[in-house]
Symmetry: C2
Subunit: 135 residues, 2 copies
């Protein structure tokens, strides 16, 4: 009873798993060098090891990069497995980041046509405001 193709597609390498676990259990977005510091005890010693794992995890949709913060959070939206269409809200006071999972929003953006009639399946949207706690 081996590993099925589907399982394998989602299986992570050692470094990827270590870094994903750290991000996934974090309550806030983590920066690359914060990650590095926290996984050094597990044998990951160099920035490049972190960045390579991050690149892969982003590529397969397990995590997303918050571009305006240079930080990474785990995806908690199963429909993001393809990972190319993301939306977040960011609190400007406490920096809490929440992934937005709105069928209406993703449908609107996926169907949006620019003035040349071009549609885009990939996008990243970051909303800024105050979270419940901070307002």
């Amino acid at each position: 009873m081996g590993i099925s193709k589907i399982d394998k597609m989602h299986s992570l390498s050692k470094n990827q798993q270590i870094i994903f676990d750290l991000i996934d259990k974090s309550s806030e977005p983590l920066k690359a060098y914060t990650i590095l510091f926290n996984v050094q005890k597990k044998g990951i010693k160099a920035p490049l090891q972190v960045y390579r794992a991050l690149d892969k995890l982003v590529e397969i949709g397990k995590i997303h990069k918050i571009e305006s913060r240079n930080a990474f959070i785990a995806c908690h939206n199963s429909s993001c497995q393809v990972a190319k269409a993301t939306a977040f809200s960011i609190c400007e006071i406490c920096e809490k980041v929440t992934e937005i999972s709105s069928a209406g929003l993703s449908k609107y953006l996926a169907n949006f046509k620019d003035k040349d009639g071009m549609k885009y399946s990939k996008y990243n949207l970051e909303f800024f405001g105050l979270c419940k706690k901070c307002r």
Copy 2:
């Protein structure tokens, strides 16, 4: 016949003007150190001088930062004077960036409510795809 308040609000300091002019006449987004290199002949010698001018220009809406590229473009959308609600399309091949000016889109996003009913007047949206030339 002095400078009116409105004029003054929009008047740029020396460094701000030099850097805005460079960005404004560029056909592509410029990075901070590219800007630095190009304004050294005008006496701007240090990164901080560039970053300070960029911060101010972003704040007053004369330029926008393309977060996924760490680069800056001039605003060509007069309604962005307040500069907090921006949308761009980015070509993944040639890196051409175009500011999107769509009343429908900005209205949709400004009125979007997250699952807590929260609305956001500030946002940044980056669409990724292929420009006309590259597809």
